[in-house]
């Protein structure tokens, strides 16, 4: 059934679990029949989408689980969903990285460096997602709080589903 996830991974917003999501995503993509040369970008893209969601939950102290749903119907599709309310602060990260290094993007130079680094990370994360994934869609969660990043990749070869059975004659 299209839309029904084959595998769903939900995790508390901790960096370690982003690794788990990458691991699961790549294992599933490989088994689903995605071309070997796409696996590295899938690893990176899933990591970025999940890191973004984790950072967002953590930045507002939200302990709710981040969701990753994966399906492999006609394409390998991954949906990463956060549960943070859509506020204006969420779009603060679209400045130019070079400008940030000049100090012009962040306004006065009093910005603490750790915050500044987070902004760079958010920018780079979005740049990577946009640069890596041909079929990328970012949208508000329908009828709820949060954002969903949907990405998909083509399947290279179809899966077989044959399995042998012991013949009932000749056995006893």
């Amino acid at each position: 059934m299209i839309g029904m996830p084959t595998v769903r991974l939900s995790f508390s917003p901790a960096p370690a679990h982003v690794r788990t999501a990458r691991l699961v995503g790549v294992a599933m993509a490989r088994r689903a029949g995605v071309a070997e040369e796409l696996l590295e970008e899938i690893r990176l893209a899933i990591g970025e989408a999940c890191s973004r969601a984790v950072a967002l939950h953590r930045s507002i102290g939200l302990s709710e689980l981040v969701d990753v749903a994966m399906t492999d119907d006609d394409r390998f599709t991954v949906r990463v969903t956060d549960h943070a309310a859509n506020t204006p602060t969420r779009s603060r990260c679209d400045a130019d990285p070079a400008a940030y290094l000049d100090g012009t993007a962040q306004g006065p130079a009093v910005t603490p460096d750790t915050l500044a680094e987070e902004v760079v990370v958010a920018q780079m994360g979005l740049a990577l997602l946009a640069g890596l994934v041909d079929d990328l869609e970012v949208a508000s969660v329908p009828g709820g709080v949060g954002t969903q990043v949907r990405m998909s990749w083509p399947l290279e070869h179809l899966k077989s589903d044959d399995k042998g059975q012991w013949s009932s004659n000749g056995t006893r």
């Binding site: 960096p15 370690a16 982003v18 690794r19 590295e40 690893r43 990176l44 990591g47 970025e48 890191s51 984790v54 990285p97 070079a98 940030y100 290094l101 460096d113 500044a116 680094e117 987070e118 760079v120 990370v121 958010a122 920018q123 780079m124 994360g125 740049a127 990577l128 640069g131 890596l132």
Partner: protein, 120 residues
């Protein structure tokens, strides 16, 4: 998969060789290690990424932070990165125009530097 790091001084540059995955999980340790080196007085640093298998935006953020910190003290910060897999990450984020990228440690340390030997 795990992060490994080892530092040495080459021609007045502190060279930190990194291997494994630099990601949202391990990047904090890279940041810690760089801070440690900078606090020990390193002003000319090179991070050798040639044995890094995976680098994400959090890793990039740590590298940008290091670059900013050394720029702030008139130091230099070079990256050694020759594998296409990682170069792609720098290109997509346009950070290939922000960092000094070298193919080898030799090339990266050829520019003048003045870091003392590391304490054991």
């Amino acid at each position: 998969m795990e992060l490994g790091m080892s530092a040495r001084v080459v021609d007045g540059h502190t060279v930190l060789e990194v291997c494994g995955e630099v990601d949202v999980y391990t990047a904090p340790r890279l940041r810690e290690r760089l801070i440690e080196l900078f606090d020990l007085g390193s002003r000319h640093a090179v991070v050798d990424l040639n044995r890094v298998e995976f680098l994400d935006s959090t890793g990039l953020g740590v590298l940008v932070g290091a670059l900013r910190r050394l720029r702030g003290v008139n130091g230099t910060f070079g990256l050694v990165c020759s594998h296409e897999r990682l170069l792609k990450v720098f290109r997509i984020t346009a950070l290939d125009r922000v960092f000094l990228l070298y193919d080898t440690v030799e090339a990266a340390t050829a520019v003048p530097g003045a870091d003392a030997e590391l304490p054991a």
